[in-house]
Amino acid sequence: MQINTPFFKQRAHDALHDENLQTALAKLKTGFPEKRAIAVERMPEFEALRNQGRDLKNHIMEHLDLYLEQFETKVIENGGHVHWARTAEDANQIILDICQQVDAKTVTKGKSMVTEEIGLNDFLEQNGVQPVETDLGEYILQLRQDHPSHIIAPAIHLNLEDVSEAFHAHHNRPKSSDPAVLMQEAREVLREKFVAADVGITGANFCVAETGSTIIVTNEGNGDLTQTLPKTHIVVTSIEKVVPTLEDMTLFLRLLARSATGQEFSVYNTLSTGPRREGDQDGPENFHVVLVDNGRSEMIGTEFQEMLRCIRCSACMNHCPVYGAVGGHSYGWVYPGPMGSVLTPQMIGIEQGGMLPNASTFCGKCESVCPVKIPLPKLMRHWREDEFQKHLQPKAARYGLASWAFLVKRPALYRCFTRLSNWLMRSWAGKKGRLSKLPLASGWTDWRDMPAPQSQTFMQAWKQQQKTGDRS
């Protein structure tokens, strides 16, 4: 997928002026967060579950190699195949090879952010295999040659009219603006695709080391049709998704739906273990798991290891005031919101991804709702440290910071500076009490007034009082 992350500001500007998007974002702001709050209210143990979730993920990452080995062994014992992909290119090539081996023409796909991350659809298409997205949102996006703007509600940026037009253009049916009719239409069109597909590709929310199973969590049932009907099922997932046992998976399932959509449980939680068994009347004959790394193994042992706890619930973006203002496409690549602001620089490089960890007020809302308590602001700050060390920040910002630091570290000099600036601002403001323009601060004064200092600085006034003993 094309990387547009360096253009965050321009994209944010466009997003802020896109009325349809703003309507959708306003709806999102009250939708998921309110439902999550109710679900959390109904589960008094939720905080304790979050703590356990964090601790268990930490344990897993400290033993990641061993759990992966166990998972691999079990998948193979069950008659499945395990493939390892260090890079996106490796993953795409491996998946294409499997498709070509079974002479696949079309591939149905369940929702998978990892396949977005590796750009699988484009790669398959270029090599003569037609991928068909089957998650309703993803399907709409594919028709529009668009990309997800949210990790669990991919078409959140589109309105009813957009969907209606896309279906009308591709389905050869009368145009409808009734969501129920549109969904029925997609259901009918995709039923044919499900049945015709040679290969079904899904992601996995977790990989269970104990049993060699993968699990998908969905509401539509498309993932289940994707992985049950074709002869070959390929699970494309990433290495940090492994969990030790079914009980451990269960801990995360309790956290996942509540954090994501505010549901008590998603409609379909489906475990897949190997290919169909002797006597089974349906199910895939081949079962492949492609374990994608794409930079994750390099996060182990660094300050970013904590990010590998992420279970992709989307609570951080649902609650983020920046995401809520500009939407997911502003982030310019696959993963938006706070989790994307930490993950994207890891995957596309801080040189290109640096806009994202800076696009945060560190308000901490994301961390406060994260089901595995990832300290997202702290991790974004680590990226800023990386940028600082590599001198990647804009010159003006670097020199500004250096000059400020010079003063702040010299209290006496700093007092002279504050007295002077205080006096200047008060003089400019005159009787008004505020400034509508201020040199070097147009970022502020273009949008809001700058309240002028009330009087001389506190330190000046305090000193005078100490001398005179006047405390009035």
Binding site: T361, A397, N422, W444, A452, P453
Partner: protein
């Protein structure tokens, strides 16, 4: 000076914004502390908590500033500031030092002693410490309260200022929608991403003016300057003040960003 009290010796961390923009906030803090029986001192060697450097990724400078602040506040029983954000920063100092560095332990000790003012009054000194004094005050206003992010989520400040305000006669609190949502200030964020910040503060302004409040209160000057600046730019008649000004009965000064009528008359 009435430093004769035998109460705890408190070092006031003024905060750079109160020093520069709103000395009345620092004076109000001093007054509240003294009313509560504390002996207040203002160490000369303090400047800023270091957050701009910390959040810009400059750990070295942050550590230098942390050392300076740790030196300045050595020996005080408590360190109190009229800001959850700056106190939150002080609480993070220990992350800047290696465990073997003597400043590490000093930073740990500072974190245990450093408190935001409303939390100090309510949680440390006890809910009844200032009750009698507060009950003598009168502030006939409908107010709404913005929960600043660092105070709320790092320090758990939510009920403390509200409880303290509830003792004052005449104050009526009307909660706004999304009181806990960030105002878009975010330190350097507001100038690095001005348009996004503007959207956030516009939402805030909208939620504030959807109440019947005449005055917006908060516990952090950064947020208050941002919100007051937006309210004024939009020509809204709502005034903004730091909560300590009301708690200390120091509301005779013009609100944040308001014309200084008294001074205007003099000129």
């Amino acid at each position: 000076m009435s430093h004769t009290s035998s109460g705890p010796r408190v070092g006031l961390f003024v905060t750079c914004l109160a020093d520069m923009f709103r000395p009345s906030v620092a004076f109000a803090t001093v007054q509240l502390l003294e009313q509560a029986g504390c002996r207040v001192e203002v160490p000369e060697r303090q400047t800023c908590c270091g957050q701009p450097a910390f959040n810009s990724g400059d750990r070295q400078t942050t550590a230098d500033i942390a050392r300076q602040t740790l030196d300045a506040f050595d020996g005080y029983e408590y360190v109190v500031a009229p800001s959850g954000s700056c106190i939150g920063m002080l609480h993070q100092y220990s992350d800047l030092f290696d465990v073997s560095d003597p400043y590490f332990q000093r930073a740990k000790s500072l974190a245990a002693r450093a408190h935001e003012i409303t939390s100090f009054l309510f949680d440390v000194l006890g809910s009844s410490a200032l009750e009698a004094q507060l009950k003598q005050l009168r502030f006939e206003q409908k107010v709404t309260y913005h929960d600043s992010c660092a105070g709320l989520r790092e320090l758990g400040i939510k009920q403390q200022p509200r409880q303290l305000l509830s003792h004052i006669q005449g104050v009526e609190l009307e909660e706004m929608d999304e009181a806990e949502t960030c105002c878009g200030f975010g330190g350097t964020f507001c100038v690095k991403y001005p348009e996004v910040s503007n959207r956030m503060v516009s939402n805030k302004s909208h939620n504030i003016s959807n109440t019947d409040a005449q005055t917006l209160l908060g516990g952090d000057l950064g947020c208050l300057l941002n919100m007051a600046g937006k309210l004024k730019r939009e020509g809204k008649p709502i005034e903004a003040r730091h909560v300590v000004e009301v708690l200390a009965g120091m509301t005779d000064t013009p609100a944040i960003g308001e014309a200084d009528y008294y001074r205007a008359k003099q000129l």
